[in-house]
């Protein structure tokens, strides 16, 4: 059977569904028999999900206005070229 260390090395591939079918079968087998690795895999999966599910914050108004003003200056320069 795969060791826990070997399982961990393949964890990203397993979670990203990029493991080969043979490899995945071996990893699945390890998970069935190793509660610790099951917890690590499950909580790592949730770690990724919680970050993926977060919407970006709004850009501060002051920054947006500054950027638009700088952009407007470039746009004007381009138009008068």
């Amino acid at each position: 059977m795969l060791s826990c260390k070997d399982f961990l090395k393949e964890l990203s591939e397993y979670l990203d569904a990029s493991a080969t079918p043979a490899n995945k079968a071996e990893l699945d087998q390890h998970l069935k028999q190793c509660p610790d690795c099951w917890v690590v895999a499950d909580t790592t999966k949730k770690t990724i999900q919680v970050y993926r599910g977060t919407e970006p914050r709004a850009v501060p108004d002051s920054l947006r206005l500054r950027l638009l003003a700088a952009l407007e200056a470039r746009m004007k320069a381009r138009r008068t070229q």
Binding site: V40, I48, P56, L63, L67, L71
Partner: protein, 205 residues
């Protein structure tokens, strides 16, 4: 402010922007400003740097629009510009001793899980939106820059392994090994907040 409308096809917007239609470029900016700002903030971990990066990235994109080929997505292109700017900022901050992106860190020690505990069924629900953001931001901030930048691009901004390697100028195996370490370190940190309380925390020992 109204949400950017998604009615215009992106290819169409880029074609119009290239042809000199500035409102098309402003529309592209509205679509991606939040994500680029988040990326800059996450990589630089500094408000002032993040603002500079965001501004530079969009100004450069506007000035170099002609060189955008359209064989990659506009988003991937502007991400690459913003990553470059962010890394320059990081390198300038000499006080940060961990800025080298080429640094070899590997003993495998950091991969051994310490916290092994199941999480609450819906751990996010225990915290307010603001508290949750605070926990997630602080946890990302705690990562060394070489791990943080990979995690930010792969798992927050959703770039592929290849796109991440290209944006950071590192190899694909380096992306994979750093991503794994970043994920495992974040898992440890988040477990402190999200572990199942009461009940049988040590269920598997």
């Amino acid at each position: 402010m109204a949400e950017p409308s998604e009615v215009f096809d992106e290819g169409d917007l880029i074609a119009r922007a290239k042809a000199g239609d500035d409102t098309a470029f402003t529309e592209l900016l509205s679509r991606y400003e939040r994500k680029i700002y988040r990326l800059a903030k996450n990589i630089t971990q500094n408000d002032e740097d993040a603002e500079d990066v965001m501004q530079e990235a969009f100004l450069k994109a506007y000035s170099h629009l002609d060189s955008f080929q359209g064989n990659s997505k506009f988003y991937t292109w502007i991400v690459r510009i913003a990553v470059n700017e962010s890394l320059m900022k990081l390198r300038k901050r000499k006080s940060d001793k961990l800025v080298s992106l080429d640094e070899q860190v590997d003993t495998g020690e950091d991969m051994v899980p310490r916290e092994i505990a199941v999480w609450e069924d819906n751990p996010e629900a225990q915290y307010s939106q603001e508290e949750l953001r605070g926990i997630l931001d602080k946890s990302v901030e705690s990562l060394a820059p070489i791990f943080r930048s990979v995690f930010v691009l792969r798992d927050i901004e959703d770039l592929s392994t290849e796109e991440t390697a290209e944006a950071l100028g590192i190899s694909i195996p380096a992306v994979k090994s750093r991503l794994l370490r970043a994920r495992l370190q974040l898992r440890e940190r988040l477990t402190r907040f999200f572990r199942r309380k009461g009940g049988n925390v040590l269920a598997f020992l």
